[in-house]
Structures are given as structure tokens and as C-alpha cells.
């Protein structure tokens, strides 16, 4: 009889539901000195921003600030989901010198290249 009883489903609190994210639009530029990454995350401010570096992978996550809107929704195009995007970094980037700036929903990351990697002239001694 006991064999017929199925294993109990996990309690709701244990089940991890994957959160849906929206991918922020980015522009990436490269110069001799490094990379510049701009990610658009409207509705996100510095407090909601989370940037994590793991190995050579950088994860940008932005949580939207709560917007107090009372009233009935008449028309919607904006997403309610938070932002998330993962990038693989060029090994030439000096991860210790990565800096970030957040202004009006636009994240700007400066990813400088290691000094060693930059092309440099080698003087020839006589």
C-alpha cells in the first residue's frame, strides 16, 4: 500500500522559480587602452545595480526602483522585469581597474586593458 503513495511534492518555499529577466541594450567600444560598455537600464539607479565578476565573466544586474503608481493601467509597453546580462571578458582587461558609473538609467563601464598588453615601443640600444 505504501508503495502506491507518491513522493510528496516539494513545498512551495523550496521550489525555486527561475526569475525572468529582460536583456538591456548595450553599446561596446574598443580603443587601444581598453573597452567601454554602455548598458541601458531605465528605472534602475545606483542602489539597484549589481555587478559581479567571476573568472573572466562579468554579470550586470539591475533591479528597477519601485515606482509608486496608483490607478488603472491603460496601455503598457514597458517591461516589469529586472535587467540582466552576462559578458565574457577579453583576457587583456585588467579586472582590478574596472570602474562603473550610473546616470539616468545608463550604466557606463570602463574596462581598461593591462599595461603589459598594450603595444609599446622597444628602444634598441647601440
Amino acid at each position: 500500500m505504501k508503495a502506491i503513495v507518491q513522493a510528496e511534492p516539494k513545498a512551495a518555499a523550496e521550489r525555486t522559480e527561475p526569475q525572468e529577466f529582460v536583456t538591456p541594450v548595450v553599446n561596446i567600444f574598443e580603443t587601444r587602452d581598453g573597452y567601454a560598455l554602455e548598458a541601458e537600464m531605465p528605472g534602475v539607479n545606483k542602489a539597484g545595480l549589481e555587478i559581479t565578476l567571476e573568472g573572466n565573466e562579468i554579470t550586470i544586474m539591475g533591479r528597477r526602483a519601485a515606482e509608486a503608481v496608483n490607478g488603472e493601467l491603460l496601455f503598457r509597453e514597458r517591461s516589469v522585469a529586472d535587467y540582466r546580462r552576462v559578458f565574457e571578458l577579453d583576457p587583456a582587461i585588467d579586472t582590478g581597474r574596472i570602474s562603473a558609473k550610473m546616470e539616468q538609467g545608463l550604466l557606463t563601464l570602463a574596462l581598461p586593458k593591462s599595461e603589459r598588453v598594450k603595444p609599446r615601443k622597444i628602444t634598441v640600444s647601440d
Partner: protein, 154 residues
């Protein structure tokens, strides 16, 4: 015996004229005050910032996503019962010597027009730009606000 002329059933072989009028009928069935606004956000027309429209007892509230802009670059105007949000995002000169790896962001001019379902007090409209979101609050005129009507029973 009645000899009646054989009439080919109309719908068996519809002409193009009938098909397009059928399409129009279906369009009318699904049309809401917002279909015009939805149509303006077509992918091919370039940059069309996403927007939401809310309504409460006293106001209409429009949110538009315009990240990375300066307040002076955004233009908000009211004309003929419709809110118009427009502007131009100029490309940054500092990236000119750089090699573009990925360019997904839109630049240039944009314009969205939101038809308002009820009249608003133009002089009381407020706009705020924060965290890359433009919030326009449009207070309804007194006549447009919902009113309680007392029912008299005689």
C-alpha cells in the same frame, strides 16, 4: 415547377474586395482607443521609446523610457488633446576614435504621441526625469473627473 436561376453562393469564391472588407470588420472588432498608439511602435520606424499610460481619479500618468539623456534633449508638449514626447539623442564624440564592437542603442530623433481619452488642464501638467524614466502627470479637468450622481427616488 419553378425554374429559378442558379445563383452561385457568394462566399464560395470571395473576390479580393470582400476579403479586405472582412479584414476591416475584424479590425473594428478589436479596435480600442490604444490601437493607434500601438501601431506607432513598429520596429521599422526607428527609435520608439517604450511607454506606459496609467489613469487614476485625478490624473493621467505617462511613463517613457529614455535612458542616458539630458533633460534639455527631451521635449514634452500638449496639442489637440494629445501628449507629444520628442527629442534627439546625439551620438557622443568621445567614441569616435573607438572601434564599435556592438551597437544596439538607438540614437537620433524620436517622437511618440499619446492621445488622451479625456481633457486635461494644460497649465498643470508636470514632467519629471529620473533614473532614465520620464514621468508626465496630466491632471484631468474638473469636468473630466468621475462624479457621483445622486439617484432620486420618488
Amino acid at each position: 415547377m419553378n425554374l429559378t436561376r442558379y445563383q452561385k453562393p457568394d462566399l464560395a469564391w470571395p473576390s479580393f474586395g470582400r476579403l479586405s472588407s472582412l479584414r476591416d470588420e475584424l479590425d473594428r472588432l478589436f479596435e480600442s482607443p490604444w490601437t493607434e498608439l500601438a501601431r506607432t511602435s513598429q520596429l521599422l520606424s526607428g527609435w520608439t521609446p517604450a511607454l506606459d499610460v496609467h489613469e487614476d481619479k485625478d490624473n493621467f500618468i505617462v511613463h517613457a523610457e529614455l535612458p542616458g539623456m539630458k533633460r534639455e534633449e527631451i521635449d514634452v508638449s500638449l496639442h489637440d488633446g494629445a501628449l507629444s514626447i520628442s527629442g534627439e539623442r546625439k551620438t557622443e564624440e568621445k567614441h569616435e576614435e573607438a572601434e564599435a564592437y556592438r551597437t544596439e542603442r538607438f540614437f537620433g530623433k524620436f517622437q511618440r504621441t499619446v492621445p488622451l481619452p479625456a481633457p486635461v488642464a494644460a497649465d498643470k501638467v508636470k514632467a519629471q526625469y529620473k533614473d532614465g524614466v520620464l514621468t508626465v502627470t496630466l491632471p484631468k479637468t474638473e469636468e473630466a473627473k468621475p462624479k457621483q450622481i445622486d439617484v432620486n427616488v420618488n
